[in-house]
C-alpha cells in the first residue's frame, strides 16, 4: 500500500513538503475532485480525503 499521488488546491499546497510523491495542484475544489477521479481511475487506485483540502491517491 503506498501513496501514489496527491491532489492539492492553491490553499493547501503549502501543507505538503516535497518527498518524491507527485503533487497535482488544482485551482478549486471542483477541479480537485475531477483530478482525483481521473487519477484514481487511470492508476487503479483509491482516492482518500484528509479533510484539510488534500486528497491523496493510494494503491491498496
Amino acid at each position: 500500500m503506498s501513496i501514489v499521488a496527491l491532489v492539492v488546491t492553491e490553499d493547501s499546497k503549502k501543507k505538503v513538503l516535497p518527498g518524491g510523491t507527485p503533487v497535482f495542484i488544482a485551482s478549486n475544489a471542483e477541479e480537485q475532485q475531477k483530478l482525483a477521479h481521473n487519477l484514481s481511475r487511470v492508476l487503479g487506485a483509491m482516492a482518500h480525503d484528509l479533510e484539510n483540502e488534500i486528497i491523496f491517491i493510494v494503491k491498496h
Binding site: Q33, A36, H37, S40, R41, G44, A45, M46, A47, H48, D49, L50, E51, I55, F56, H60
Partner: protein, 296 residues
C-alpha cells in the same frame, strides 16, 4: 454369506450414491458444472470401490489390501492440495475474493467427503459380507443419513443476530451506525453510496460468536456470500464500492456495507445469516475455564 460380487457392488453403489447426495450445486457454484461434477463423481466412485473391496480382500487373507486404503488417503490429500492451489490461483482475479480460510474449508470438505464415501462403502460391504444384502442396504441407508448430517454446519444466523444498519458520512468517513468503515475522497462516490448502499449489523450471541466473527477470514466469507447473492457494483480499477466489514472494538459487533446490484436489505440480511461458519474461524473460549472466568 453373499457372493463377493454382491458385496462389492452394494458397497460401490451406496458409496457412489453418498457422493452424489453430498454434491451440492447452489449459489457457491462449487463444484463447477459440468467438468467439476465429473471429477467429483469419478473420485467418489473410486473411493467407493476402494472401500468396498477392503473387507472381501481381508477375508481372502490378502492383507496388502489395507495398504491400498493408505494409498487412497494419500491420493485424496494430494487432490485436496491441488484443489486448494487451483482455487487460490483463481482467487487472484476475483473482485470479491472468498478468502484463503474459505478456500481451505472447501478443500478440506472435498477431501473429507471422499473419506465419508470410503467409510460408507466399507460399512455396507462389511455388513453385507457378515449378514446379507438386506442388512447391507439398511446399513447403507443409515450411513447415507449420517453422511448427510455431516454436510450440515453452523451458519452465521445461528450464532448472531443480523439487522439493518444506518449508512452515513462524517466528513469523508463512511460509517455504519457508529462503526467507521472507510475514507472516501470522491464526492460522487459518497453520493452514490448514500443513495444505493446497504449496511447490516451483526451482533454476536455470546463470546464464542464474538471471537468467531472477529476472524477476518469469516468476515471475508460473509462478504463473498453477500456479493455472490446480491451482486456488487465494484469494477476492476474502481475500488470505492468494495464491500467492507469492520468491527465495533468495544462490543465486537461487525458492520458490513456494500453497494449491491439488488438493493434489497431483507435479502442482504438473509444472505449474511446463511453464510456458513468456517471451521478454521470457529472459536470457543467459553469451553475453557479461563474463558468462562474472563467472560463474567
Amino acid at each position: 454369506m453373499e457372493q463377493y460380487s454382491t458385496i462389492i457392488l452394494s458397497g460401490v453403489v451406496f458409496g457412489t450414491l453418498a457422493r452424489l447426495l453430498m454434491l451440492r450445486n447452489d449459489y457457491r457454484l462449487y463444484p463447477g458444472y459440468p467438468h467439476g461434477y465429473v471429477t467429483h463423481i469419478s473420485l467418489g466412485f473410486i473411493a467407493a470401490a476402494l472401500g468396498s473391496v477392503a473387507i472381501p480382500a481381508l477375508a481372502e487373507k490378502d492383507f496388502t489390501a489395507v495398504t491400498f486404503l493408505a494409498l487412497a488417503a494419500q491420493q485424496f490429500r494430494e487432490i485436496r492440495n491441488m484443489e486448494r492451489e487451483s482455487l487460490a490461483r483463481l482467487e487472484e482475479r476475483e473482485l470479491v475474493p472468498r478468502g484463503f480460510d474459505y478456500i481451505e474449508g472447501i478443500a478440506k470438505v472435498f477431501e473429507s467427503r471422499n473419506y465419508l464415501v470410503m467409510a460408507t462403502s466399507l460399512l455396507v460391504s462389511g455388513i453385507t459380507f457378515f449378514q446379507d444384502i438386506y442388512w447391507g442396504m439398511a446399513a447403507g441407508v443409515l450411513a447415507l443419513a449420517i453422511a448427510l448430517k455431516f454436510m450440515g454446519g453452523e451458519t452465521v444466523g445461528e450464532i448472531a443476530t443480523v439487522q439493518a444498519a444506518h449508512l452515513h458520512f462524517e466528513g469523508a468517513f463512511l460509517k455504519a451506525d457508529e462503526v467507521v468503515l472507510m475514507n472516501l475522497g470522491l464526492k460522487e462516490a459518497r453520493e452514490r453510496i448514500l443513495k444505493e448502499g446497504l449496511a447490516v449489523r451483526i451482533t454476536p450471541n455470546d463470546d464464542n460468536a464474538r471471537l468467531t466473527l472477529h476472524n477476518p477470514g469469516q468476515r471475508q466469507a460473509i462478504i463473498h456470500t453477500v456479493a455472490t447473492l446480491l451482486g456488487t457494483k465494484i469494477e476492476i480499477g474502481e475500488y470505492e464500492f468494495t464491500p467492507i466489514a469492520r468491527k465495533n472494538l468495544d462490543s465486537g459487533e461487525i458492520c458490513i456495507a456494500m453497494v449491491p446490484n439488488e438493493p434489497d436489505i431483507e435479502c442482504m440480511i438473509e444472505a449474511v445469516k446463511r453464510t456458513p461458519v468456517l471451521e478454521s474461524a470457529k472459536r470457543k473460549p467459553l469451553s475453557n475455564s479461563i474463558g468462562r472466568l474472563a467472560a463474567d
